[in-house]
């Protein structure tokens, strides 16, 4: 009799604990495998968000899904289109509100390397944090996260994908999945990458541009330079990992018009007008340029550095100092490159285009793929 009572108690406990275990067990995930160029440097992945195949798969679907916006018409991919190296071709992006946003859409590429400060003004400390901000922003996607979680839970496909990646649907899971999909946007097969690996030789004009790109001009030894590398030393990856390295005032505005930039994050006046020096990978397909998209072409950009610099209190000293002719006019700042040199630098910038990356099916819209498969 006593035994039967004990068994009667134990059986429900066993059943309950089994159900609890099944519902809460950590999903079996699989780490993504890849190799990347050594020259990109070391990268880091947050320990609480391992780069799993399941999270990347989920992140890709979320990235392309307009369900993430309040009007079901705007997805991350609306402002980050793969053929444009995940930019949108607009001066500044436009979200659900229809109002032009404050910033030009940033290219998404090689984001695992370096960045500790995302967005043009560095306001986000991680890819996970960065992923959620546009969803909630009233002008961008304006989606209430709680409502979004309900919708995702009501979708069998998402419920399954979340279960496989994280165990359940959650806001944290959305952020982690979007972050990991973006981490996998690795580009390493541009003509320049192939040149670095010794697989091809640059044309003479590209090679001239490469040398100019890499050189800080020095009139004392007649070394001509484009001064590009001074701010864009991480031009192949997503940026710098050290404090605020990679933020610079590149002379777009004078003191009166100087925009906040990094000051937004730090409240440090020395950071007013400093914006992130972006990756230059795929730069030929990411027009228009600068944080506010003010320059339409690469020729416009080069013209800016070749005479259009505006002096301000936080202007980069590397820009002030760089000149290919001995300084004669104190207030005039210019690289003083000649036309051929400008053409060469632009030719070199075109070698940074990775066509394989721009068409890689692994980064494309999965809904299109599903529709095509019937």
């Amino acid at each position: 009799m006593k035994s039967a009572k004990v068994v009667g108690v134990l059986i429900p406990i066993f059943i309950a604990s089994t159900i609890y275990y099944i519902n809460n067990k950590k999903p079996a995930t699989h780490l993504v495998e890849f190799t990347a160029p050594f020259v990109f440097g070391r990268f880091t992945v947050p320990q609480n968000n391992p780069l799993t195949q399941e999270s990347v798969l989920l992140g890709r679907r979320l990235f392309y899904d307009p369900l993430l916006s309040s009007n079901n018409q705007v997805s991350c991919a609306t402002c980050h289109k793969q053929p444009l190296a995940f930019t949108d071709g607009l001066k500044t992006s436009v979200g659900v509100s229809g109002k032009p946003l404050a910033f030009n859409s940033m290219s998404l590429v090689n984001l695992m390397w370096g960045p500790k400060h995302f967005f043009w003004n560095g306001r986000s400390p991680s890819l996970e944090d960065q992923a959620i901000q546009p969803i909630e922003h009233l002008d961008e996607m304006s989606r209430n996260i709680e409502d979004l979680l309900v919708d995702l839970n009501n979708d069998d496909t998402y419920r399954d994908l979340f279960k496989r990646a994280f165990g359940e649907v959650s806001a944290q899971g959305i952020a982690k999945a979007l972050a990991n999909f973006q981490r996998m946007l690795i580009s390493s097969n541009s003509r320049y990458d192939q040149y670095i690996r010794g697989e091809l030789t640059l044309s003479s004009i590209e090679e001239q541009g490469r040398k100019l790109f890499m050189a800080h001009p020095d009139t004392k030894v007649i070394l001509r330079g484009g001064n590009c590398i001074d701010c864009h030393s991480q031009f192949l990856t997503g940026g710098f990992s050290t404090m605020f390295d990679g933020f610079s005032n590149n002379g777009l505005d004078d003191d009166q018009a100087l925009q906040a930039g990094l000051f937004t994050l730090t409240n440090n006046e020395a950071h007013r007008g400093l914006f992130k020096a972006p990756t230059l990978r795929n730069i030929a397909v990411t027009a228009p340029y600068m944080h506010d998209g003010r320059f339409t072409t690469l020729e416009d950009v080069l013209a800016h550095y070749n005479g259009g610099i505006k002096r301000s209190k936080t202007l980069s000293p590397l820009i002030i100092e760089a000149d290919n002719i001995p300084k004669t006019q104190k207030n005039h700042i210019s690289l003083n490159l000649n036309d051929d040199e400008i053409i060469a630098i632009i030719a070199f910038l075109h070698t940074l285009t990775d066509k394989e990356f721009l068409t890689n099916p692994a980064f494309s819209n999965p809904f299109t793929e599903e529709n095509n498969n019937g």
Partner: protein, 453 residues
């Protein structure tokens, strides 16, 4: 092999008359257990790779180990100090790989002491854990050149080339077939093999014997003729100047004075001191002589393109050192390694091409050879010295470790020193710890100085 016997004899002859210098000993590391969780945490916090180095390791056949390229932790303050973090087995070759070099574009190359693979490119990538790994080791076509030694990348009239010295040249059985290979630095294709056999050029014409050291400035290149890699009796005593406009030898200069051990001087490594190293310097070539135990200077007039009579700057026979080998440097100092007694001498960079001491010798170990400069994770400036001449032995030598027939120059170790004080902070003995010999060391991100070991 015979060359080594010769070196051994020379060293024995020389060192037999000298008391070995006692150096403070640091306990050889024995700790091997690693807390991987801790490592993983550190990896994500800082770039720990700045204290890591690539090493070429030779397997010792009688100890059952094989050749490899390894990545090793070099921070003496790290729990992982001396640990092999990654090991890439090399194919079975007829001789060890000898030197590692990064090209200006960051491509990794190695020279090899044999005929099967005298020059190789090594592909370094990162895996999904962000760890550096080697995914390819390609032996390059050298048009049959043997025994690769030094590599230098140098621009001539706006065109970059990769130059490689081949001590064995095109035919190891001949006395004078050493060559300098000129390669396309992008494709690795041979552009030209520079050869000037003493037996074939007219009397008084420039020749190249066994090119080892290499350095260049403008349109002038210098290579040394040190020792024949296979024929013991053949030892050189010259350097040869090459006109880089034509890739033709134009002058052979004898570098020799006293012969402290009875052999020709055997010029080994050279450094063309030039304005890119020391601003405003009057260019000159510095030459170390393996068996002369000396360091020489050859002044160069850039305007007339004339090299003056060599001057002896340092005499090891009187100073108690032998086998001067490498020139390395940083922003402030030039360092020269001396295999016997195993020290690194340091000189004021700004005083070059003259050798003005900038501090006490760094007391390494016998066979002091290659070196790297780096900072510990805590920011301490360090120098690591590889103490080993060559690992060329084999079973036929009837030695239990295969390589100790030149024991006085093969300590099999790396010693790490405070760069400012010279204090020894750690030692890794590869033979004791890994049953391997060490051939070369290169910082994982390169040495940061124009050297041509």
């Amino acid at each position: 092999m015979c060359k080594l016997l010769l070196i051994a004899l020379a060293i024995i002859l020389f060192t037999g008359c000298n008391e070995p210098i006692k150096t403070p000993q640091t306990q050889t590391i024995t700790k091997t257990a690693v807390n991987t969780e801790q490592t993983s945490t550190k990896n994500s916090a800082v770039n720990i790779e700045e204290t890591q180095a690539l090493v070429l390791l030779s397997g010792l056949p009688t100890l059952g180990t094989t050749d490899s390229i390894a990545i090793i932790e070099m921070d003496p303050e790290s729990a992982n100090f001396g640990k092999i973090l990654y090991d890439y087995p090399l194919p079975k070759l007829d001789a060890p790989m000898h030197h590692l070099y990064y090209s200006p574009n960051g491509r990794l190359y190695a020279t090899g002491l044999g005929s099967q693979c005298s020059l190789a490119e090594i592909s370094l990538v990162r895996n999904a854990m962000a760890e550096p790994i080697i995914n390819k080791f390609d032996c390059l076509n050298t048009n049959g050149q043997n025994v690769g030694e030094d590599i230098m990348w140098h621009s001539v009239n706006g065109e970059l080339y990769m130059f490689v010295t081949f001590m064995g040249g095109s035919d190891l059985t001949q006395l004078d077939t050493g060559t300098v290979g000129v390669f396309n630095p992008q494709t690795n294709e041979v552009i030209k093999i520079i050869e000037a056999r003493k037996s074939q050029v007219a009397q008084g014409q420039p020749y190249i014997m066994f090119p080892h050291g290499i350095s260049a400035y403008g349109d002038r290149m210098v290579v040394t003729s040190s020792t024949h890699p296979a024929i013991a009796s053949e030892v050189g005593n010259t350097v040869t100047i090459i006109d880089l406009n034509t890739f033709e030898p134009i002058e052979t200069i004898v570098i020799e004075d006293a012969n402290p051990v009875g052999f020709p001087s055997s010029p080994v490594e050279v450094l063309f001191v030039r304005p890119s190293i020391v601003e405003g310097v009057e260019p000159a070539i510095l030459v170390n002589t393996l068996f002369g135990f000396e360091t020489w200077k050859i002044p160069y007039n850039e305007q007339t393109k004339i090299f003056s009579t060599p001057e002896k700057l340092y005499d090891g026979a009187t100073a108690g050192t032998a086998v001067p080998l490498e020139f390395y440097g940083n922003e402030d100092e030039l360092f020269i390694s001396h295999g016997v007694p195993g020290i690194v001498k340091r000189y004021d960079l700004k005083q070059l091409p003259n050798l003005v001491s900038s501090g006490e010798d760094i007391k390494a170990e016998s066979g002091a050879h290659h070196m790297i400069f780096y900072k510990s994770a805590a920011g301490r400036k360090l120098i690591a010295v590889q103490n080993n001449l060559l690992n060329l032995g084999d079973v036929k030598d009837n030695d239990p470790t295969d390589i100790d027939f030149i024991a006085k120059l093969n300590h099999h170790s790396l010693t790490v020193h405070d760069l400012v004080t010279g204090e020894r902070l750690g030692e890794i003995n590869f033979k004791e710890k890994y049953q391997k010999g060490i051939d070369n060391i290169e910082a994982l991100f390169g040495s940061g100085f124009t050297h041509h070991h």
